[in-house]
Subunit: 138 residues, 2 copies
């Protein structure tokens, strides 16, 4: 059980990315709803269902993760009733490496008795930069 309470979907989203940057599994899971129907898709990963599978995936991801910097660009927000859907781009910068293409994520939040919580995180790679963007030698 977690005592975290987020009064808006945006607060839950900020806590989600703060936990991601800190690689803090307990903080991460405090953002998710405590419900078997929650779903998480990491880039090119399977569909994970329920708190146990989702916690394990973040533990594995954080265990192997290098130091990262994040910049989140919001692309759209839709909200009605107890549901909010945010589409964002995650610009992840790993120390001493050149920036890669952003990850695109659809994040769904639901108003629960414990405030707004994440119920879906679907992340996937964006297209690589086109050849026109690549530096040339001439």
């Amino acid at each position: 059980m977690s005592n975290a309470r987020y009064d808006t979907p945006q607060e839950a989203e900020s806590a989600f990315y703060a936990a991601f940057i800190k690689r803090d599994v307990n903080a991460m899971m405090s953002v998710w709803a405590e419900h078997e129907n929650i779903s998480c898709i990491h880039p090119l990963g399977p569909i994970l269902r329920g708190p146990d599978a989702i916690r394990e995936s973040w533990e594995a991801l954080f265990r192997n993760a290098p130091d990262m910097q994040f910049m989140i660009t919001e692309r759209s927000r839709t909200q009605d009733g107890e549901l909010a859907i945010h589409i964002v781009e995650e610009h992840i910068r790993i120390k001493n490496r050149s920036p890669s293409s952003p990850v695109q994520a659809t994040n769904v939040y639901r108003l629960t008795e414990n405030g707004w919580r994440m119920v879906v995180h679907h992340a996937s790679p964006s297209p690589p930069p086109s050849k026109n963007d690549a530096p040339t030698l001439h």
Copy 2:
């Protein structure tokens, strides 16, 4: 403008995949809300916003698409107020080719004055089958 009306998110979803199989752009666009805030992410594609960009993407996709068979596996449904979120696996079979890994899609529908319409389609590749699943020669 489209006269199509879907009384449930499931009806809109059935019409979406029917239009996909038929490669019918007008039927496809009749499933989407007529709103600038709609978003579509094809597998490994960019985030497309608004009816014009989304229509163009389906036109291009259908122009190049071979005959396909579809099987949709529903993985989760969440609904409240005017929003419904479905996570599905799209098992796409192209004639004379062996089946590939399913596409994972998060589909969001919204109740509009014209019934339920799609507002988000986020599709991405699933992991390739593990080596243990691959046929071997011995």
